[in-house]
């Protein structure tokens, strides 16, 4: 089914691409400045707010937006819905890019990145208390796993080169990959389950600095479900956007039937969140909690809205409607995570944080880099489904 995927071709240096290049160039300058002058002068970070948008957005939110690969793989390989298979490759690619960007962002964010190589190697120093250790190790391995999962597309393409030795090597690697791929795929399901939940565990250690509406032992579960929500949202978003941008057939029918799963996951999140708030009696904390009660209701509404939108059977296949629902899912999860790490975090009186312009430039530049890489890869390698979609749609449903 996958080899229905084709490279898109066409020129790479289009006008939008050059704009992205410019944004990235500016960001690269800011990054150089950050390594020269230290983190303080470039960012709004402080001893009270040591984690800002580089962590809350690029890592905690970015990797969850990059969970499309995880979400779709769960559906295809575990729930055995083979008809969604054409969504796997582009989703895995976006995941690989998203996680790689998060890794780059971490290299900018940590103060002593040159010590980072010790983390996977100095096993005897591992602190098993540290959820961050697990997150770091899992994310590092997962970046590798994702690129291995992307690589068949590359080798498939190389099998068509006129150069015989390359062709031979590519076909050997393809065969080897096919043998071990089951275990790679399983690893690709295990690792996000581990680190996406542990990203939530991270905040448990901050104890009372995190507002009681967000601080709960259920953080790992809520983080896990929210990454699946965001993953599905991202798949819908990316699929519809790339069919519009590259003028390709839409996968509306497939996405439409995916909505049932999305609705279930959304209600799962809402159920867990509401039960937790009730069980802990956290509702009582809303009066007198300034804007936090309002923030919580916005969050809940943003999870509820796409769930209700996708309940309607007729409108599910309307691309515009689907696109809006997908966007809302991404935003809902993003807001929940952003709040949990940053907005609802309060180290005490006298501290405040707002990202500086250079800080935002770095984040923006890394996003630009991600989009550029996506464009180059789908234009060069067979990632997106080919022009004749009728067959795949009729697939095994």
């Amino acid at each position: 089914m996958n080899s229905h995927a084709q490279p898109i071709g066409g020129t790479i240096l289009t006008k939008p691409f050059r704009a992205l290049l410019l944004i990235f160039a500016v960001a690269a300058g800011v990054i150089a400045w950050r390594f020269w002058a230290g983190i303080g002068p470039v960012s709004g970070l402080s001893d009270g707010y040591p984690w800002g948008i580089w962590i809350a957005f690029d890592v905690v939110t970015g990797t969850a937006l990059a969970c499309g690969g995880y979400a779709v793989a769960l559906l295809v390989y575990i729930l055995n819905r083979g008809r969604y298979h054409p969504l796997v490759r582009p989703a895995i690619l976006t995941s690989a890019l998203g996680y790689t960007i998060a890794g780059l962002s971490l290299a900018v964010d940590v103060g002593r990145p040159w010590n980072f190589w010790r983390v996977p190697i100095f096993v005897w120093q591992w602190n098993f208390d540290s959820a961050l250790l697990e997150v770091a190790l899992c994310i590092m391995s997962y970046i590798g796993v994702l690129w291995i999962e992307v690589s068949p597309a590359v080798f498939e393409r190389l099998q068509d080169t006129p150069w015989a030795p390359v062709r031979r090597v590519a076909s050997v690697i393809t065969r080897v990959l096919d043998k071990v791929l089951v275990w790679i795929i399983a690893l690709g399901l295990l690792l996000p389950t581990m680190h996406q939940s542990s990203l939530g565990t991270l905040m448990i250690l901050t104890g009372r600095k995190l507002h009681p509406l967000w601080q709960t032992p259920l953080l790992p579960l809520l983080f896990l479900i929210s990454c699946v929500v965001m993953g599905y949202g991202a798949v819908v978003f990316e699929s519809l956007l790339s069919s519009a941008a590259f003028r390709r057939p839409r996968e509306t029918r497939m996405l439409g039937s995916l909505s049932t799963t999305m609705v279930v996951v959304l209600f799962l999140f809402l159920g867990a969140r509401l039960l937790d708030l009730t069980w802990r009696g956290a509702w009582m904390r809303i009066p007198g909690s300034a804007g936090y009660g309002l923030l919580l209701s916005v969050e809940l509404a943003m999870f509820l809205a796409p769930a209700l939108m996708l309940l309607s059977k007729e409108r599910r296949t309307d691309p515009g409607h689907l696109f809006r629902a997908g966007m809302l899912m991404m935003l809902a999860g993003a807001l929940y995570r952003f709040d949990s790490v940053l907005v609802a975090f309060n180290p005490g009186k006298g501290w405040s944080y707002f990202p500086t312009v250079p800080e935002m430039m770095i984040t923006l530049g890394l996003v630009a880099l991600e989009i550029m890489a996506y464009i180059v890869l789908v234009k060069t390698f067979p990632i997106l489904r080919g022009i004749a979609p009728a067959r795949a749609d009729a697939g095994h449903s």
């Binding site: 002058a37 964010d109 010790r118 250790l133 399983a186 991270l202």
Partner: protein, 305 residues
Amino acid sequence: MAVDRRSILKALAGSAVAAAATSGRALAAVERKKVPAEAVGLLYDATRCIGCKACVVACREANDLPADPGPFQDRIYQAPIDLNDRTKNIIKLYKDADTVSYMKVQCMHCVDPACASACMLGALSKDKLGIVSWDGSRCVGCRYCQMACPFNIPKFEWRARNPKIVKCELCRHLLAKGGIPACAKACPREAVLFGKRVELLADAKRRIADHPGRYVPKVYGESDAGGTQVLYLSAVPFEKLGLPDLGDAPVPEAARLIQHGVYKGFIAPAALYAILGTVVFRNRRQALAEETPAGDAAGTRESLP
């Protein structure tokens, strides 16, 4: 043949139960950390402190910290307003309508420190005396210790190219030479005492008993957040001095129960991996069989993700 969805869900549910069971066992297994036998610490008696800040200056000298004129950059004297990357110890003033109190702030040297629990490679760790200190060779600069510390103690060198984490290490370099922490040595009023934690705690309780009405009848740090090795006596409620009411459970406990529960012996993740692998394998074989009955090379190639 087909693995139906029910059997998969059953398998997944089974592994969830197994994980829950292991975590239940771990709950029992994670014991509260005990105060180290040779634990040393400080006792700060806010009612004896006259705010002379001799300890602030002595700390700076003993630890080779650069001068910190605080927000008054044109002044030549030391005037930091809070702990920072150049100030490991500070005296603050609390004042309201009818009370005035000084407050000394430095690392609490928790019995079960959140910073050490957070740290990936154990760059922050407790030694034999219970002193929490920083080892730069193990530090990545992630600042999770700052996120975790309930007292906001570890500070980061925001302006440095090779930044360090800066915090009070109870002058361990002086202790190694048979000395005592500079702040305790400098105090002219015995408001800052250095000693074994057991003795300091006994002393603090004696003071409360000997002077009824003088103190809030509690030694902060005896059991707060699982206990700290720096202890406080005060006439003013501790919360007003900036010592939060953290309860008696160590701050890292909640996260530790989850981490050690789910990941105990790596059994749950390994089991989940085995299940996922098996399910993926069977599902893919089935999908292949449906697609290309012959299962030829072309079919194999097509099945790649």
